[in-house]
């Protein structure tokens, strides 16, 4: 209970990552970490930071005289491959996350388009997209950074947003237990699907997922027997008691990553003008985050789907504009000269 509460209310190591992407594909990465203590433990970092980074520690005291220690770390990466190498060697709290950065530049004559993305691979093998459970509007709300969600619930139209928050919370529970139920079935049949005594087909078991979910929502006892017997029957449970226990253990292991993920904020700043993204643009001129596109990275987003934070920008190729204008004028002149000749 205490460990859970500590995990729940721990606000230390609040992390904001800023990727400033340059036109040649190099990236200047800045990480701002806030902590209530001066000492920063490297294994608690949400993103990889090591001795090769330039670091600086400062502090801020609020009106309640609470001191916040701020670690600012910065490093220049010649390419995204160097970022990916750091992700692979990460020893921080999110080391289990499979993260990667990607950069591409495409020449489109009048403009050059840059695309930068950071991806987190899904944690579970089963497919259970959030879009099956939430409306588009609810999904937009879910993907909003937490602070923005809280801001909306306390601002104008607060009733509407509070109602939406309640709805998404209820649906989230359904989605989460559905995911776990499907994953358990996947694991169970992968491990013991060949057992001759197993008479229930996998597809038939999948049809029982809603009952698993209902049981998970209603159940108050932690024992496996009390959970599985009402759904699968006593005979099935006692025949496969060991197998069920093993598959539940495997499920617990695979969901450990999910529980261990510590969320952080990601910001990407691009060369030229930003033209498209799946993130959120900050309009607050006083905010530290202004200038880029924002995302929150948290386990819910990549439990069953790959999570991609992408942004596209463009710079105009003015030389191509001039070349094109000259060419068009040349053609028009040629046509005019020709038409005059014809008249003569």
């Amino acid at each position: 209970m205490f460990i859970f509460m500590i995990l729940l209310f721990s606000c230390d190591y609040e992390t904001h990552v800023i990727n400033t992407v340059h036109g040649d594909g190099s990236v200047t990465r800045k990480v701002i970490v806030k902590n209530s203590e001066k000492k920063f433990e490297p294994d608690e970092f949400r993103v990889p930071i090591d001795s090769t980074w330039q670091t600086e520690i400062s502090f801020d005291v609020n009106e309640n005289n609470d001191t916040t220690w701020i670690l600012t770390a910065e490093k220049y990466f010649a390419s995204v491959e160097e970022i990916n190498a750091e992700y692979k060697a990460d020893s921080g709290s999110n080391r289990e996350m499979q993260r990667s950065a990607h950069f591409s530049r495409s020449f489109k004559w009048f403009t050059t388009v840059f695309r930068f993305s950071e991806q987190v691979e899904k944690m579970l093998t089963v497919s259970c997209p959030m879009s099956d459970f939430f409306t588009d509007e609810e999904l937009k709300f879910i993907y909003l950074p937490n602070k923005v969600q809280a801001d909306l619930q306390n601002g104008p139209d607060s009733t509407m947003f509070k109602e939406m928050a309640d709805t998404t919370d209820a649906k989230s529970e359904q989605w989460l237990w559905t995911t776990f139920a499907r994953q358990w079935i996947e694991i169970f049949y992968d491990l013991f699907g060949d057992d001759p005594e197993l008479t229930i087909e996998k597809e038939e078991m999948m049809l029982k997922v809603p009952r698993f979910v209902q049981q998970a929502v209603d159940e108050e006892d932690d024992s496996l027997a009390q959970f599985f017997i009402p759904i699968l029957g006593e005979e099935f449970y006692y025949t496969f008691e060991t197998e069920i226990d093993s598959s539940v253990s495997v499920l617990e292991d695979s969901t450990d990553i999910y529980f261990s993920v510590n969320s952080y904020d990601m910001e990407i700043r691009m060369p030229g003008r930003i033209i498209a993204s799946n993130g959120y643009a900050d309009t607050n001129p006083d905010s530290l985050d202004s200038g880029g596109i924002l995302w929150t990275v948290k386990g819910d987003y990549f439990l069953t789907e790959r999570y991609e934070m992408w942004v596209e920008s463009q710079i105009p190729n003015y030389w191509a504009w001039i070349v094109t204008a000259v060419f068009v004028l040349f053609v028009i002149t040629g046509l005019v000269v020709r038409s005059r000749k014809g008249k003569d």
């Binding site: 509460m5 721990s10 929150t296 002149t333």
Partner: protein, 184 residues
Amino acid sequence: MNNQEKYSKILEALKSNKPVLSDKEKLTDEIMRRIHGIEDKATLQKKLGSYLFGWADHSWIRGAMAAAAVLFIGIFITQQVIITNRINNLEKQLIRTVNTLNNHEPDLGIMHKVLLNMVARDRIKEDSITISTSDLEELLNSYLELQDNYEILKQTYGLEPYIQDMIRRSLEDNTNPDKSKLKL
């Protein structure tokens, strides 16, 4: 003698005194060269025009060049329209974030919320107390402080194993969820 006659006499006198040309042939050549130069200039303009815009005389090249020009203009317009649309879509995603400095609100993910619901639901039938967030924070801080002090004690004084076991058991008993009487 009237004026008319005077002028006639002067003209006669001028006509009778013709200028003596030193190099008649050279002068003639120079005049002829300059006359040809004007013609050459006109020919050069024609040649240049023909060189630059000769393609316009061939219908298929004329068509291809016109098509290429239209294509370029078309691509330019299409790109601008697409970019404008994409920027308009992006503008819908504008947000006004709050300054995050000293914001100690916990970021609850779906799993955290679900677990919180479960804990709340499980505890609801048990004997329970309700405490404020500030009290809970104080409780957690005290717990963390106690844990830190215990670590320091352990490192500083090198406690006997049985004392360490005793303290650990005591801590475990205190943190046993079955024995906690909290209602969130």
